[in-house]
Symmetry: C2
Subunit: 341 residues, 2 copies
DNA sequence: GTTGAGTTTGAAAGCGCTTTGAATGCACAG
DNA sequence: CTGTGCATTCAAAGCGCTTTCAAACTCAAC
């Protein structure tokens, strides 16, 4: 059933039917009702391609997921997209997903822009001095960055969590608990959040008079295996840390494993604070969650990012929105005062 | 730059330019070259909406991800989609992603069909007696199921791993190692793979003369927390299992945790075999992987599923393809003979 | 009875492509 | 020179919508 057939059914022109369905004011209320009724009855939906062509809007948002060199797909993308998708479906947008090898997203962006496949883009996994920002600015395609660039000083829309503050507070808490040697199991150095978290950690160390020790800081993809390996090495060292700050739930499972392997117990012997993206399958909740955490729902970030992007599209002349979300510090079972010997 | 402008530039008609770019034979070779050159120079790409409207094909595939009642998003979707996406990008298709609350995907499918947004659909997470199959058959939308229904006997395209055989073999291996009490940490009962895995497990028990014990079988979402809880309970019971068969890497991390908490060691004391989807962030590789596993790359399944779907679209009258992938049994460090007391 | 404003509807153009059917030009046979 | 076949090109229609502009109708005011 298309518009022509539907309007024929109703004995009306395509114009009127179209207007009725799109809530234009100049349609008689009774007519509109009749049209909407019929549309429902025949399960009529405007052809997406035709609408897009006629309006010049794609009715779709592009999400381009970077696949990094080690082929690790960050599972938080799924969760973020789940949030964004929620926004799109209420607003009648579709979500176009594209995976691109990290560093060669250009072709994908250019393609989406040239083919007019999307009205805007969510940029995932920003990297230090990310060339995607100037590229998209050049293409004139609205976008929202999930995260921030560290160096780019131009105006662009972003949503991020306050990584610095979260890691500052977490580090401070560990220091206040008496921990002197606090390890940082962080993400890939190319990711901008990594630098911010590190900087929050370093500031807190300095403020509490602790010495920063590069040998306590690890940077790699946030996998369980990497968390395990880093923590194992550290715990086997001469002067092992008594606390860990871990950038993801996934890595923390590896850290926990290493702690147990070293015949230590999580909490009493070794404190751990994780950053918790509140992933649906990574339960760290309950009255006393397993891990003390700085928590911020990445799904909510997805919802908000999508809303921001749609608002930019609807309102291209408004100033570009930015949003900084604070993480909540949640006290769980994995932290405690440093054991005195 | 659109077709009109490009053809004007070239002093040719839109017809000829279109044909040249789409490799129609009736274009002079020299002209074609000139056109392609110009298209590249001006970065011309046909407008996706217009092409779609003119050809009647959407140039897009829909992936509808079910979000279950506990809101757990299965992380393997990401990997599967990463695979599928690879296929699409080489074939010029786009991927439209949609999340839908489990059980109410109907509206999403109907919408995609009515709006002609996609040429086909990948059905994720098939459930027992899945009503999506007849629905899509009714809508006339080509689809490929990732998995199989257990009951539906009509013809449909699917790709699946041989869950029965994988779990049969894994169970058999554990039995051969002398284990008498083998626990099964399985997925949500509504998922069809759960039943198949269970049936492989039960068959192997029977064949090896072991008694099936319902109290050793757990069914729930494949999260770390669920794995931990199930294994903890089992290990604390009067007659605890000496081996575990675990449906996912994620659950296995919980099981491992429970084993360590019980002051047992993985491998020597308690054997564990997992099903390993070969997720990029769930490393279980190396010479001797941590876990003995039945392994099958879900990313490869995504690649193949997409290829199958595109072939159905290109060739609607051919018989519907199906594909059964075998999992590889990988011996890792988590299995060993049952300890004699 | 005419006018003008306001309400409601419709014809037709246009979005950017593909594709049909026709036209053009040219080589070559008769 | 005419006719035929082939290679190459083009004008125009059409895909299914939205939107402009014009038309028709109603009704109150003069």
């Amino acid at each position: 059933m298309n518009l022509k057939q539907l309007s024929h059914q109703l004995g009306l022109s395509q114009t009127t039917v179209s207007r009725a369905l799109n809530n234009y004011p100049e349609v008689n209320a009774a007519t509109r009702e009749r049209v909407k009724q019929a549309a429902k009855e025949f399960n009529y939906r405007p052809n997406a391609r035709a609408t897009g062509l006629a309006t010049g809007r794609a009715g779709a948002i592009g999400h381009v997921i970077p696949v990094n060199s080690s082929e690790v797909l960050n599972p938080i993308f799924t969760e973020f997209i789940a949030g964004a998708s929620q926004t799109y479906s209420t607003q009648g947008y579709e979500l176009i997903l594209s995976l691109a090898p990290e560093g060669s997203e250009d072709a994908v962006y250019r393609q989406l822009a040239a083919r007019k496949s999307v009205d805007g883009i969510i940029v995932h996994g920003p990297r230090v001095n990310d060339h995607r920002i100037p590229l998209l600015q050049g293409l004139g395609l609205p976008f929202v960055l999930h995260g921030r660039d560290t160096t780019n000083s131009t105006e662009y829309a972003w949503i991020d969590i306050n990584n610095r503050r979260a890691f500052f507070q977490a580090t401070k808490l560990l220091a206040d608990l008496g921990h002197k040697r606090i390890a940082l199991i962080n993400g890939d150095v190319a990711q901008t959040f990594t630098a911010r978290r590190r900087s929050g950690y370093l500031d807190a160390l300095q403020q509490t008079g602790l010495r920063a020790d590069e040998s306590l800081m690890f940077h790699s993809d946030l996998t369980e295996a990497n968390g395990y390996q880093a923590a194992s090495e550290l715990l086997a060292s001469e002067d092992p840390p008594t606390a860990f700050l871990v950038s993801s739930y996934m890595s923390a499972l590896g850290v926990r494993h290493a702690i147990h392997n070293a015949r230590l117990s999580l909490g009493p012997d070794v404190s751990v604070i994780i950053h918790d993206d509140d992933l649906s399958y990574g339960h760290n909740s309950g009255d006393i969650p397993q891990f003390t955490a700085t928590r911020s729902s990445v799904k909510d970030a997805g919802i908000l990012a999508a809303e921001m992007l749609l608002s930019i599209i609807d309102n291209p002349d408004a100033p570009l929105p930015t949003k900084l979300l604070e993480a909540n510090l949640i006290i769980g079972a994995s932290t405690g005062p440093r054991k005195q010997h």
